[in-house]
Amino acid sequence: MAKAEKKKLSGRKRDERVAAYIFVAPAVILLIAFLVVPMIYTVYFSGFKYQIMRPDAMKFIGLENYQKLFSDKNFWLALKNTVYFTVIVVPCQCVLALALALLVSKKFRGVAVFRTMYFAPQLTSMVVISVLWSVLYNANPNTGLINSILVSLGMSPIKFLSDASTAMNSIIFMSAWQGAGYQMMIFLAGLQGIPRDQYEAASVDGATKFKQFLYITIPGLKGTIKYVIMITMIQAMKLFTQPYIMTQGGPKNSTKTLVYYIYTQGFQKGNFGYACSIAAVFFVIVVCMSMAMKKVTAATD
């Protein structure tokens, strides 16, 4: 009896193991074939002189691509633009998202309407938003909505996308507007996790709303804030769609980003090996950033 039971059990164990391999195999095979293998090839190709038009003339050149990269001023410009975008858009977007979340965190009549309003830009794609804002940002106050508002408020029109000094900031403003609704939803969930009696106790003690925000809300949201910063940061590093549609990297390369530069070198100019070395550097930067964030998170917890 006990023996039969045991046999049945070990049979089930075996069934389970077989099932497990059947279950994980498709995902693992796909991940390896279309993520791991291309990743290895990014590093591999970066050691070659490889023109896409002449694959036969592929030649191993060691670290030459990287040497070229570090003296390529367009690469440094693209890196600078990407970092600039990230450093500005992350705090702007996160603070905006938190502010919006605080505006609609309490239950009051109409709260769902306001939440939907703040989330609405998320219901359209980045392509749609980029096309729409290209029109809104038009430098001519007779055809650009934002400039016409500026003029009617007595200000002088701004060239937005057609001036190297304002183009990236215009993209930042638009991106923060489009993205904030998403992070707002994450903050709302985080706010719900803060026990309400903490606020009640604080207001009995006479703490002002601002003090409550500083000493209850912010510490209570610590984990959420870190997570939001991390995803916004990684998202920001990948900037491509907005400059591609709105400015084609211009004016004067002021909105050319790292991903844009990978695209230009690899797909437009056909310098595949060189583009792979940019992609490898890009990868290292993104991974270092997320590891650094995890370190910071672990250290302060």
Binding site: F23, Y41, L103, G110, S148, I234, I245
Partner: protein
Amino acid sequence: MKKSMRFSNAFGKFMFYFGNIIIGIIFVSPLIWMISASLKPEAKIFANMDSLTTFLPVQASLSNYAEVFSRLNMPLVFKNTLLYIALILVLDLLVNSMCGYALAKFEFKGKGAVLNLVIALMVLPMEAIMLPLYIEMSQLGWVNTLAALVIPFVAKCFSIYMFRQFFCDVPDDLIEAAAIDGCSPIRTFFQIVMPISKTVYATVFILDFVAHWNDFMWPFLVMTGEDKRTIQLAVQSFFGTQPVHYSAIMAALVVSAIPMIIMFIFMQKYYVEGIASSGIKG
């Protein structure tokens, strides 16, 4: 004293609503302008930019929409997009939930390694691998076919992770009971676990639907044929195609947003939950 407090309370409430209304209007005003412009004749879009009436659809008609449909071959574009999304989502939900379930409930050699692989690959940006991936697609002869859009992106580490988190909470007793009844592990998953896990499927479905509906860069690289375009590619190319009619462009933007809005209306709960839960668990 009391009176003034009540007054300040009411005032605070008023300011709260006032602030919400002002910010809310500023937030959606670009979208309102887009919708209103899509209904106006081309000559009227920029006619009264200096007054608030620019947000109102004057002489509203659907002729811009007719223009979009005739110039962009919308039925084909929608067919391309929906086929792509339907295919990838069916495979995505199946493959990733199976993997997530195995990682949650089965004991097998290499489990730790698979889990580590999934977590490690979560940070890998697609942009870092798109060059060799493109070569891979062209060697397989997949460029300009659905396969290039679908197959490389079926397996998603984030989806696997979400499924695993959910399945970890499925009670072991339930699975044991099925096993005692003679139900094989595979059948247990499909007939017992899957039907009680609708929420996680709905959440992953809506998150990935949105991601693929909005996807631009990869389709842009591999679907170069005009008859292969997805909705985002069609909208992007329409923006630069002569004759540039801004009213028709706005109509195209609205059309491309409608399926997302419909999805949001029906799946709002799961969408919001999906976004929120990613934050709590991350």
